[in-house]
């Protein structure tokens, strides 16, 4: 029984990692009061940049850097439009998604159809990886997977245990008050948006160079949207993002797993499971208006004219 479940849990964790990366980045962005719906587009650009780097013979390090850089550039362009030019964040974010999907599909044509020459392999930790169930799923990740766990802790620590984190959160609650306290609202928001872009780029890199080891149009297959939903699901708390990502990864993996062990369920119902789960969770959370109001950053999505 355990032997049969272990691969399910392992693939749930593997599917959860890129979601965690993207959602953590978006969480920081939203905590600063900015709503960037361009997650999917930034992830695709990051994925393509990472894949292009390895395809042209650069190593894994440059691939990660390229992916992060692509994410940051895309995020900063969003930042310029929404923070400096004060454009509507929802519209700008959606455009970024569409732009990222289109640009990556266009530039990526030449990379379709061959495997990444190098990729992140699994690095089992001695001893720990032999623990039943947890070993193969949690202690046999690749380098990016371990990095994600570190980033998860670091983000939580930054938000709740540092002065800068406090400043970021207070800007998200009330930029007017933060401004009157002498905080540079737009500078902090730019930094948050750039961080979100870097994390999205990294998530894309994970898909292209660690998980699928290839490039195709729309490689991230809508996971950017799932990551966005996860931030709400987690009520803007980093550790809950991890829980949500694992749940979602589990539901995605379950569809294929049930088929492989011969359970008789409609293939099409199984394929839509993750999305149904997302909708159900969002409905449940939104049903309690207090819940959203208490946890959502108060200035989320509202433009702020920072003349500093």
């Amino acid at each position: 029984m355990l032997d049969s479940i272990t691969p399910l849990v392992a693939s749930a964790v593997a599917l959860a990692i890129p979601l965690m990366l993207a959602a953590l980045g978006e969480l920081v962005v939203e905590r600063s009061g900015v709503l960037n719906l361009g997650l999917e587009g930034m992830m695709l650009l990051g994925a393509l940049a990472g894949f292009a780097a390895v395809a042209h013979g650069a190593g894994l390090g440059p691939a990660v850097l390229a992916a992060i850089a692509a994410g940051i550039i895309a995020a900063l362009s969003f930042g310029f439009i929404t923070l400096t030019l004060q454009a509507n964040q929802v519209a700008a974010g959606l455009s970024l998604t569409i732009l990222g999907a289109g640009v990556s599909a266009f530039l990526g044509r030449q990379y379709v159809g061959f495997a990444a020459p190098v990729s992140f392999g699994d690095l089992p930790i001695p001893l720990l990886s032999r623990i039943p169930l947890l070993g193969p799923s949690l202690f046999s990740l690749n380098l990016l997977g371990y990095a994600t766990l570190v980033l998860l802790g670091a983000t939580a620590w930054f938000l709740y245990r540092t002065r800068a984190g406090l400043a970021l959160r207070s800007i998200g609650e009330s930029p007017v008050v933060a401004r009157s306290l002498g905080l540079h609202v737009n500078r902090v928001r730019y930094a948050a948006v750039a961080f979100g872009g870097a994390m999205a780029g990294l998530a894309g890199c994970y898909y292209a160079v660690a998980q699928f080891k290839m490039w195709q149009e729309g490689l991230t297959s809508g996971n950017g949207w799932i990551a966005l939903a996860l931030v709400v699901f987690a009520t803007w708390r980093p550790l809950r993002v991890a829980v949500g990502a694992l749940l979602f990864g589990g539901v995605s993996a379950l569809g294929l797993y049930l088929q492989a062990i011969g359970v008789q369920v409609s293939v099409f119902a199984l394929a839509s499971l993750p999305y149904i789960a997302t909708i159900v969770v969002l409905v449940l959370i939104s049903a309690d208006q207090q819940m959203i109001r208490r946890h959502a950053p108060a200035s989320l999505g509202k433009p702020f004219h920072d003349d500093s």
């Binding site: 379709v112 290839m214 088929q259």
Partner: protein
């Protein structure tokens, strides 16, 4: 890049043809469900298209549209190609069937050729390849190579074409090891490398150590190599993608057929007979068998292939036992007719899980 080059080539060609004032070339177009760079299904069709170009030179002018989703978009693309003056349009995916028929009605002077479908019209001709033959041969190799006695199959859609390939693969394997079973995972897509990979990982996690796929990319084979198991190439020779894991490739060969269509059209007598070719017609084959495959398997495969080519034996010849292990679907000595093969909606003994409806 490829598209740019071919578009450029087509433009240059069109210009030079106009200057020379030569007779108008026969315009032929292909509709692809994936990119020619998929290394599988669409790649095989593109090799066929290039063969036509090479053989007929400036007598033909070919073009293609790639990544066309099955459904409403396909109809628009097919109509555009017909309206642009193409005399022959190949629609190369099962899901283009209704769209092809619909557009064909509006363009009675254009000849349409639909791959793998089952509905024809006065100007819609069907062509298909008996991929279950190389699938059966692949099964024989899988039976020899599998240590755990569990095979994995990444399947696209539960249509007869795919179901009979699962059956043929399993039947071939069971001639070697009568206890072998096949686990099937349906991914509901022809081309989605990431989904194909996930499905392959799931099957490997459930103990499958030899995989075959009826999807269009090389993702399953690459996953097999990553996880240290074996798999086959499908539609095109995929050796280069995973030289270690690759056991053999079941390939489609369209060039000969496409050339025949072009030749007939140039002669003014368009080809209108339904074609369903197999190994003996040179429309498919099992190639590039890995040197690591045991000699016994190679010999059996060669012998069976010879029987198929000579027309002495067909894959769906009885006795064929149903999934329950009791029902005799095809009695000994009898063979299924083409029509029966084209409507297979049952699993043979050894396939696990229920066939989706």
């Amino acid at each position: 890049m490829k598209l740019w080059k071919s578009t450029l080539a087509a433009t240059v060609f069109a210009l030079s043809a106009a200057n020379a004032g030569a007779a108008d070339p026969l315009k032929m177009a292909w509709v692809y469900v994936g990119p020619p760079g998929d290394g599988g299904w669409t790649y095989a069709h593109d090799v066929g298209r290039k063969a036509v170009e090479k053989k007929f030179g400036d007598k033909v002018q070919t073009s293609f549209v790639e990544n066309v989703p099955e459904g409403a978009d396909a109809e628009r693309v097919i109509r555009e190609l017909a309206a642009k003056g193409n005399k022959i349009v190949f629609t190369t995916s099962f899901g283009y069937m209704e769209q092809t028929l619909k557009v064909a009605k509006q363009f009675p002077k254009v000849e349409f050729y639909h791959a793998t479908g089952f509905k024809s019209a006065p100007n819609v001709t069907i062509y298909n390849s008996r991929m279950y033959e190389p699938a059966y041969l692949a099964g024989i190799i899988a039976g020899h190579v599998s240590k755990k006695g569990v095979l994995g199959f990444v399947a696209s859609f539960p249509i007869p074409e795919v179901v009979r390939n699962i059956n043929a693969f399993t039947m071939g394997a069971r001639t070697v090891n009568p206890k072998i079973t096949t686990k099937v995972v349906w991914v509901s897509t022809w081309f989605d490398p990431s989904k194909e990979r996930q499905a392959a990982e799931t099957l490997i996690g459930q103990g499958a150590d030899v995989l075959l796929q009826n999807t269009d990319s090389s993702a399953v084979l690459q996953t097999a190599q990553d996880k240290g198991v074996n798999a086959f190439g499908w539609d095109s020779d995929m050796t280069a993608y995973a030289p270690k894991a690759h056991l053999a490739s079941a390939i489609e060969i369209w060039g000969g057929y496409y050339s025949k269509v072009a030749e007939a059209a140039l002669a003014g007598k368009p080809l209108k007979t339904t074609v369903w070719g197999g190994i003996k017609d040179g429309m498919n084959d099992l190639v590039s068998v890995n040197a690591a495959v045991p000699d016994a398997a190679k010999k059996t495969v060669a012998a069976k292939k010879a029987e198929i080519v000579a027309g002495k034996w067909a894959v769906f010849t009885g006795p064929i036992v149903g999934q329950d292990g009791k029902t005799i679907i095809v009695p000994a000595g009898k063979s299924l007719t083409d029509q029966e093969i084209d409507s297979i909606k049952w699993y043979v003994e050894g396939v696990e899980g229920q066939l989706p409806r």
